[in-house]
Symmetry: C2
């Protein structure tokens, strides 16, 4: 684990800038950095795709655009059109958000058709399906992964970074187990250092979405100096999504789901004490 291949790690990172307050200067910097550090893509909002593609025309860094972002509550028709336009303007990858409300309502046909339409409109670009795992139960995450694969998606992805919380290894592992080895799993949201990144990769992620790519690569270079304690297994409750479950931010039923899970968890006596 200490001998991480820095170039390989860089090629797993979508170098990301999705804040609405970021102007062209930020996107220009993002492109320069991506080229310099060897990231696989820059991930930008639709309005920045053309500009980013122009900046990167002499580089092998790809452009990734988001669709229906970050709420996923646009109609299928608009999502498909948005994807098509982004691909025309130079996007090689499309990260779409599912309609989380419909997923929670159990409208599986709708979810599948929504993804299918974007996959079709995006071809030959690859599509990542953002599940926004913070708002779903484990069972819903599994089902959403199955629907994504059936609909022809190339990746499933945890989070937008704008939800109640971001990527957790628990969810990444679940997603990897569900989609098998041939579909990509992208972890995103709150990945801010090499420890976060390694946790996601060890759980099965093949792609990381983060704005901390440079910090992560710097951390990777320092790994060889890490003490053994740094590499010890983590306390399970400390990396459990239940820890981020807050009644202020989650639907009531989902908050209840997490409290019930905690109560029955094998670690409840040892670490938990209900969120300590």
């Amino acid at each position: 684990m200490r001998d991480i291949d820095i170039d390989k790690l860089a090629k797993m990172i979508d170098h990301t800038e999705l804040k609405s307050s970021s102007g062209e200067g930020k996107i220009k910097d993002l492109c320069v950095e991506a080229d310099q550090f060897g990231f696989i893509t820059v991930c930008v909002n639709p309005v920045n795709v053309k500009f980013a593609a122009g900046q990167l025309k002499d580089s092998d860094v790809l452009v990734c655009s988001v669709v229906g972002f970050p709420l996923g509550m646009n109609t299928t028709e608009i999502k498909a059109l948005e994807a098509k336009k982004a691909v025309e303007e130079g996007a090689a990858e499309i990260d779409m958000v599912i309609n989380v409300g419909a997923m929670r309502d159990g409208k599986h046909d709708y979810i599948k058709a929504d993804i299918e339409a974007v996959v079709k409109a995006s071809a030959p670009a690859h599509v990542k399906v953002i599940l926004e795992t913070c708002y779903l139960t484990d069972e819903e995450i599994i089902k959403a992964c199955e629907l994504s694969v059936e609909a022809g998606a190339h990746f499933v992805k945890t989070s937008t970074g704008f939800g109640a919380f971001g990527a957790f290894a628990h969810h990444v592992k679940l997603m990897r187990e569900t989609v098998g080895p041939d579909i990509g799993v992208k972890a995103s949201g709150g990945i801010s250092n090499i420890k976060d990144a390694m946790r996601m990769i060890n759980a099965g992620a093949t792609r990381l979405g983060t704005s901390a790519g440079i910090v992560i690569l710097e951390g990777a270079k320092l790994l060889k100096y890490a003490t053994d304690s740094w590499l010890e297994p983590e306390i399970p409750c400390h990396t459990c999504p239940a820890r981020s479950a807050s009644i202020a931010k989650l639907p009531k039923a989902l908050y209840q789901y997490y409290t019930n899970k905690c109560m029955k968890c094998e670690y409840r006596e040892k670490y938990n004490k209900f969120y300590e």
Copy 2:
């Protein structure tokens, strides 16, 4: 101020549910409540417009949809199509988000054309332009209001509720002063009780976007029992947007703008002590 007209107040409120985790049940409740309490609209995501319009077909509550929400970083073409489709499906009002990054970059022609395209695509529905005031300086807010009026918008609106912070009376006042008496001003984001609501209305808001409409109406009924202390003028620093300015959430230049403003503020000796 104690004799507030409850019905008039209800007719100023867009009863709002924009969370991605909210399914059809929540939207149904929203429509029932809006009809029962006499709110002017329900404000929902595009994917819920048709359903809400169906629920409200025998009511005089209108449907308001959001466009390019909440980041505003879609292309103009997609925003216009999204607005058109929402109106076709039953939306009578469209709340669009500007491209905040472009506004901060000073691309005024772009901003105006973006709004114009949505106004045109939405007719006869009215358009509210969400400035996302948390990411703009006072000068940028004034300019964005001018561009909105020039582009034919019917309202300017403070916030999405998904940004760094929501509506402040300071911004509402600025917007009202800029657009004059004939354009609507909608305050939204963090308006959770009658005190917040009155503060916005006193600053010049003619519409409130909130998910706390029922709580606000209940509060209004209790106003006649309020003690005099409740009605005293508020300490200026307590209701100043600078108070919510955080380096973690705002662009660095904007954070600097707020700290500079605080340093020169007329209240700096009396209340401020730099955020106390």
